[in-house]
Amino acid sequence: MFEGAVRKQLDEVLKKYPTKQAALLPALWMVQQNKGWIPDEAMSETAEVLDVTSAYVKGVVTFYTMYHQHPVGENFVQVCTTSPCNLCGAEDVVSALLEATGCAALGETSPDGKFTVIEVECLGACGFATPILVNDDFIEDVTPKKVPEIVGKYRDGKA
């Protein structure tokens, strides 16, 4: 995992901190960037390069909800459903997203493998309800009406 360009990237990150352990969050981001999720073996590899134990890494991975402990669809959709967004109709956005993506339920990947939709707690854009995060794209003011078009773009890889 941490070879070549990724190793170089990690070495750059390590310069920012006085301890190796501090590079754990960035290192896990690199893993997820490369593998799409964080498998157990990758935790062990990460542990080795940062001189911590695999159990330690697992404890950290399971703390932060943005690290995927399981493979997810090609497009990972996070919808905010915390109170302010709920007031503005986030539940309808969730339903629209499930329908448009073909995901049977929250957390499940669509049969075509293209989407996984999950609800998340506050995305910090309450004034632009409902915000969703598709992969690394932060999209504001999503309404059920806009959902099919957004989903379509990602399905076709045009986003």
Binding site: T82, C88, C122, G127
Partner: protein, 435 residues
Amino acid sequence: MGYPHEPHSKETVVLSRYFGDKSARSYDGWVERGGYKALKKTLDMDPAAVIDVVKESGLRGRGGAGFPTGVKWSFMPKEKNKPHYLCCNADESEPGTFKDREIMRWTPHAMIEGCAIAQHAIQAEVTYIYIRGEFTEELAIVEQALREAYSDGVLGDDAMGSGKKLDMYIHRGAGAYICGEETALMNSIEGKRGNPRIKPPFPAAFGVFGMPTTINNVETLAVVPHIINEGAEWHNSMCLSNPKSVGTKLFSVCGHVVKPGNYEVTMGFSLGELINDLAGGMREGRTLKACIPGGSSVPILNKEETENCILDYEGCIEQGTMLGSGGVIVFDDSADMVYQIMLLARFYAHESCAQCTQCREGTAWTTRILERMLAGKGKTEDLDLLLDLADQMTGKTICVLSDSCAAPVVSGIKKFRDEFEAYINGSREPVLVHG
């Protein structure tokens, strides 16, 4: 309401002056708008003198606690015999709050300049800017701004030709509300679970990597260059009500208003005016029911309290709530308060770090009671139970996450008891609660 848009005439735009102006984002654009003059000036000053200016300015932390910033800085050791750190808290995650993201999006150099000034004042070589993982756009913008700041000599081994070393790094969060708590934030930077630490020791003595550390909110830091440029007196005199609360404050208004968005007003502004004038008031045919003025962690206000509330630290306390982070959540008469409070409790249950017993178990139990109540299976004694749990979740844990869960429950039951009772006595139809 997104940017660009004209500021409302009742706003006092200091931080938000260039919101919506894309050309203010770049180093050159920022310098054209007077950027980095304050840093240049500061670097020639004695660190203690910088702290004095900030103390005199009356600036208080904008992240939620409202602690005087200059005083916080003065807790750092004067004699420097080990590394000092500054952490810029850009982990904006408090439901209802979305102001720091705008600072980062439009004026990243304001934040960087503020960090650099603070860094000089507390004699820190390094700033870690802790940006929540979900803020992908802000992350990219701040990254770009930092690259410019380095290449244009603002940061690095010889910051603005001062001979001083100023380094600034981004640390990206990964989905954990609690990392906005300062000691959890430090743990997260260290590559640990974001568990709040017991205090003492306090960060100024034993902070990130065990070194003296100061943690400030983005908004707090971004206003510092203005204070340096315009003077402590300029800042101290911006006050509409209580002289202990000065300057401008960004309020994020969301929920049931016509024009949700960020509004910058002078401390002491009226909450009613903010909602009704600046944020456009209620939607057609709707009336105000309730408001949470300081982010989801503070007690809920009813209509009357909302209309009487003065937006500063003391004014909020007078109404039995807190200014917090300035995240104003507005509920109109269509809002189901029981459901909303359940959602807030669920938020805290989801975000509890799992350390303290009361928080780990209490937030989840509270959520379950509210879910059961909404499902039509509430019991008369549930309200007393909720209040008792809330009491045991208040003031008894390492950090205030469980207190934050208790606040809306207690104030909600106190002020909207009839809504709870309607679910319990069956006069209100149960609602489907998915978990």
